[in-house]
Every structure is written in structure tokens, then in C-alpha cells.
């Protein structure tokens, strides 16, 4: 056994996702595990992020409510949380760095909606900060 050893809960779960431009892109709310076709132990294939993934972690009535809300917000085709494939993960440290821009991620939808329908309409929303 030679690879790096991590504890999933301690070193990965609940950490910040950062996109290729340094923008904050959600949390590691859960991990997707898959059994490889050739047999053997499960492998982490994707990071699950957003309310649809967080709901399962919270559990109880609040979790169920959040899951229902997340499903309604989604386009409606399938009830699954937003996925970030491990193929775009660059580095795991105090945050998880991604090799793509936020707009290419499924996790970006709620933010885009808030921008288009609410905050983007206020004067000065697009002005550079400093």
C-alpha cells in the first residue's frame, strides 16, 4: 500500500470547494462511492454538494424537508444531488481545489438564480470590488 491515506470524515467531508479561479463553490456535503466493475473495495467517484446532499447528512424532519425543497428546485428530471466528479479535483488540503470554473458545475444553479433574479438587478452589482 503506497498511496496517501486520508480519513474521509476528518480530511474531506465538510471542507470548502474552491474553483479554478479561486471562487468558493460549495462544501463537500457527501461523497459518492462506487464498487469497481472488476470487484474490490468501493472507490470515491464524486463529491456531492448542495442541499440535496446535505439533507441526508442532517437527517430527521429538517433533512426530509431540505431534500424535498432541493428536488423542487432542480430541473425535475431526476432526484439526485449535484455532483462534482473526482476527475476535476486538483488537490485536497484545508480546502478542496478544483480544476474547473464554478459555472461549469451543477452546484452553481441556486447561486446563478439568485444573481439573475435578485441581486443582479441592484445598481452596482457588477462593479469591481477594489
Amino acid at each position: 500500500m503506497s498511496g496517501r491515506v486520508l480519513e474521509a470524515g476528518l480530511h474531506l467531508l465538510d471542507r470548502q470547494l474552491i474553483d479554478v479561479d479561486g471562487r468558493l463553490a460549495g462544501k463537500v456535503d457527501d461523497l459518492e462511492l462506487e464498487l469497481p466493475p472488476g470487484g474490490g473495495p468501493p472507490v470515491v467517484t464524486a463529491i456531492l454538494s448542495g442541499p440535496g446532499a446535505l439533507s441526508r447528512r442532517l437527517g430527521g424532519r429538517l433533512g426530509a424537508w431540505l431534500e424535498a425543497a432541493a428536488n423542487r428546485l432542480r430541473d425535475g428530471d431526476e432526484d439526485r444531488p449535484a455532483r462534482v466528479s473526482f476527475a476535476v479535483v486538483k488537490r485536497i488540503e484545508s480546502a478542496v481545489d478544483l480544476s474547473v470554473a464554478k459555472r461549469e458545475l451543477e452546484t452553481n444553479r441556486l447561486e446563478a438564480w439568485t444573481r439573475e433574479h435578485l441581486i443582479g438587478h441592484l445598481p452596482g452589482a457588477g462593479d469591481a470590488p477594489e
Binding site: 470524515g9 480530511h11 467531508l13 465538510d14 471542507r15 470548502q16 470547494l17 471562487r23 468558493l24 463553490a25 460549495g26 462544501k27 456535503d29 454538494s49 446535505l54 447528512r57 442532517l58 437527517g59 429538517l62 488540503e93 484545508s94 480546502a95 464554478k102 441556486l110 447561486e111 439568485t114 444573481r115 435578485l118 441581486i119 443582479g120 441592484l122 452596482g124 452589482a125 457588477g126 462593479d127 469591481a128 470590488p129 477594489e130
Partner: protein, 409 residues
């Protein structure tokens, strides 16, 4: 030279930014009722906030992760959510109190009812957060808040019996006619005011906003270790003023106007004017900090983009939370609930919630995964452990004491 200037500016800002409506109310009320017998709590509170703000600033500088990132990271999604609900509620109450405080300060200068000022103040708070650069915003109100120094100047001009004040502060005795539970309850309120959690939310997020790097760790230390204690001295000046002028007359200040009496009786109109500017700047600056902190805490829990270092359109959910918090805060004050009452509740609840914020900071500041060689020193850990124990005791004692003393009556 430029570096020296920026360090000096940071320290001055920290002094002026330390005091908020909670400190003003808690220190004046305590001085008027218990003299200097609870001054030691201010010292304990200032040492505590220095200790944990330095840690939070260091973690944010080294790892880029602000306080609520750590809360989520170390406590997990569920416990952190409970923490978020409690912390957000307290920060929101404080925001409402600060908005009310600004309106009261303007009322004193204009004699126009404070409720009419609330919508204007709320709009201005939002506008500054929306438009003004982070550094300019922080420095402008911090420096203007230095006007509160006038309360200390008044004290010095008066030339009180310093030895007597010091003796009263170093030999705390519960005044006659007051019960021990009430005395302790006021002590807890003072601690809550000095160590309000939003201060570290704001301080650590500010380190990220300003893009601090390891080279700024020295700035972090100096801001905290020099700025905060000097800010604490301003709190003590307000307490001493109340001790000298209000306590002997049996005045229990329930209005901001009464807090100003000692200063104007010594320094007259000019002193009053400067003090009112100080009240305005301190509460307005704190309204900005709490408004931002409402957004910081939620955004950091969920991992949204936050901060003023990106265009508002790039942090839409953060700005939406800030906007809604300010609106709701103004709404709460407009119900005509006394802002001073809101302040009192916010600081007492803060005291009860202190471990929620400070425990995760202490843990992560010991994790070499995050901190590399910048983990806590032994001394910091020893002090941190003592404080953790103290904060736990305070948290457990607060609510029973509140019921027992009928909130200090």
C-alpha cells in the same frame, strides 16, 4: 514607513472598533449599579477576546478558512447547523441593537424620534456594505470611533480619586442591597459584551477579505494585542464615569442620553458633541460588522461565495442574506421594542453561546494539517484551556441566573 503606517492604522481601527452598543450599555449600567466592582470582568473579557481573535486571525491567515468554515469542518454538518442557528440569531439581535443604537445617537443630536431614523440608518448600513471598499469601510468607522476617547479625557480632566477607583476595582465587593446572583449576572453580561462572537466572525473573515498572508501575522498580533486592550480601556472609562456620576445619585441608565451625562458635565458642549460622534461611529461600525457577519456565518456554513473581495454579482446569496438581515433588523427595531433591551438580551445570550464559537477555533489552531508550524504555543493552549473551562461554566450558569434574578432586577 508605509508598513508602519498600515500597522498603526490597524491598531487605531481596532481600538475604535472594539466598543459597540453592547459595551456602552453594559459598562454604563454596571458602573451605575455596582461601581467598579465588576471592572475585573472587562479585563477577563479583553484577555479572552485577544486570545481567541488572535487564534482566529492566525488560522484565517495561514489556511484561508474563516471561523464558520472551522465550525462546520470540526463539528460536522448537524452540530454545526445548531451552532449556526444560535450564532446567527445572536448576531442578528446584535445587528438590530446596533441599528437602534445608531438611530438613538442621531436622535440625541437632532431631537427627532429615533424610529424615523431607523429606515434611513438601515439603508445607509446596506449601502456602505454594498458599495464601499472593505478597507476604507473598516478604517473610516474605526478611526471615527476613536472619538469615544473623550470619555477617558473627561475622566482625566475630572481628576478623580484614582487610587480609590483602582482599589474598588481590585477589591471587588458586592454593594450593599444587591444580591450575589444579580452581581454575577451583570458580570456575565459584561463578559458577553466584551467577547461577542461576531467579533471573531468579522475579524477572521476580514483577514480573508484583505488577503492577509503569513507576512501579516505580525499585524494580526499587534492589532489584537494592542488595539483591543486600548478599546477595553474605553469601556472602563464609561464604567468609571457611571461610577462617579450616576451611582451616587441612584441613576440607572436606561437610555443612551444618560450614558453621556458624565462626559458633558466635565467637558461641556464640545465633549458632548465628540461623544455623540463616537456613539454614532461605534454603533454604525458595529452595524456593518454584524450585518456582514450575518452573511459570513451562513455563507461559510454552506460554502457559498462570500465577501466584499468579489463583485456583489459574484456573491449573490451572501449579499441577499446581508440585505434581508438588515431589513429584518430594522423591522425588529420598528416594532418600538427598546433597542437598549435588545442589546441587553443580545449580550446575555452571547455569553451563553461563547463556547460554540471559541471551542472549534481552539481545536483547529492545534491542527498542523491547517496550521503547519503556526500551531498554538503551549502558553496559548494553557490560557485557551482555562478560558474554555470558564466559558463552559458561564454558558451553563447564564440562563438559570437570568431566571433567578429576573434578568438582573
Amino acid at each position: 514607513m508605509k508598513r508602519l503606517f498600515s500597522i498603526a492604522l490597524g491598531i487605531l481601527t481596532a481600538i475604535g472598533g472594539f466598543v459597540d452598543i453592547g459595551d456602552i450599555v453594559a459598562n454604563a449600567e454596571t458602573g451605575a449599579r455596582f461601581g467598579m466592582s465588576l471592572a475585573w470582568v472587562v479585563i477577563v473579557g479583553v484577555v479572552g477576546i485577544c486570545l481567541f481573535a488572535e487564534m482566529a486571525g492566525r488560522v484565517a491567515t495561514v489556511s484561508g478558512r474563516a471561523v464558520f468554515d472551522l465550525v462546520r469542518e470540526r463539528l460536522g454538518a448537524r452540530v454545526a447547523l445548531v451552532n449556526l442557528v444560535a450564532s446567527f440569531f445572536i448576531t442578528f439581535l446584535t445587528l438590530a441593537a446596533e441599528i437602534g443604537g445608531v438611530a438613538l445617537a442621531i436622535e440625541l443630536a437632532t431631537s427627532v424620534n429615533y424610529l424615523l431614523w431607523v429606515p434611513i440608518v438601515a439603508f445607509l448600513v446596506w449601502l456602505v456594505i454594498w458599495r464601499v471598499k472593505f478597507g476604507l469601510m473598516e478604517n473610516a468607522f474605526g478611526l471615527l470611533g476613536l472619538a469615544l476617547v473623550v470619555a477617558a479625557v473627561a475622566l482625566w480632566r475630572l481628576g478623580p480619586d484614582w487610587g480609590g477607583l483602582l482599589h474598588a476595582a481590585t477589591h471587588p465587593v458586592v454593594p450593599q442591597g444587591e444580591g450575589h446572583p444579580t452581581w454575577w449576572f451583570f458580570g456575565i453580561a459584561l463578559l458577553g459584551a466584551a467577547m461577542t462572537p461576531y467579533e471573531v466572525f468579522f475579524f477572521s473573515s476580514g483577514a480573508v477579505e484583505e488577503g492577509w498572508s503569513r507576512a501579516d501575522l505580525i499585524t494580526n498580533r499587534l492589532n489584537v494585542y494592542i488595539g483591543f486592550p486600548l478599546g477595553g480601556l474605553l469601556s472602563l472609562a464609561l464604567m468609571a464615569g457611571a461610577t462617579l456620576f450616576l451611582e451616587p445619585r441612584g441613576i440607572e441608565p436606561g437610555h443612551l442620553s444618560q450614558v453621556a451625562l458624565p462626559t458633558l458635565l466635565v467637558l461641556g458642549k464640545l465633549g458632548l458633541a465628540v461623544l455623540l460622534v463616537g456613539f454614532f461611529a461605534a454603533t454604525f461600525g458595529a452595524a456593518l460588522e454584524t450585518g456582514l457577519s450575518c452573511g459570513y456565518s451562513i455563507a461559510q456554513y454552506f460554502g457559498f461565495q462570500w465577501g466584499k473581495f468579489v463583485r456583489p454579482a459574484d456573491a449573490p446569496r451572501f449579499h441577499l442574506i446581508v440585505l434581508l438581515s438588515i431589513l429584518a433588523g430594522a423591522g425588529l427595531v420598528l416594532t418600538t421594542i427598546d433597542p437598549v433591551t435588545v442589546t441587553e438580551y443580545s449580550i446575555v445570550l452571547s455569553a451563553a453561546a461563547l463556547p460554540l464559537t471559541y471551542f472549534p477555533i481552539l481545536v483547529v489552531a492545534n491542527d498542523p494539517d491547517y496550521m503547519g508550524d503556526k500551531v498554538n504555543s503551549r502558553l496559548t493552549n494553557a490560557l485557551g484551556s482555562v478560558y474554555l473551562l470558564l466559558l463552559l461554566v458561564v454558558a451553563v450558569a447564564t440562563i438559570p441566573l437570568m431566571i433567578l434574578t429576573k434578568a438582573g432586577s
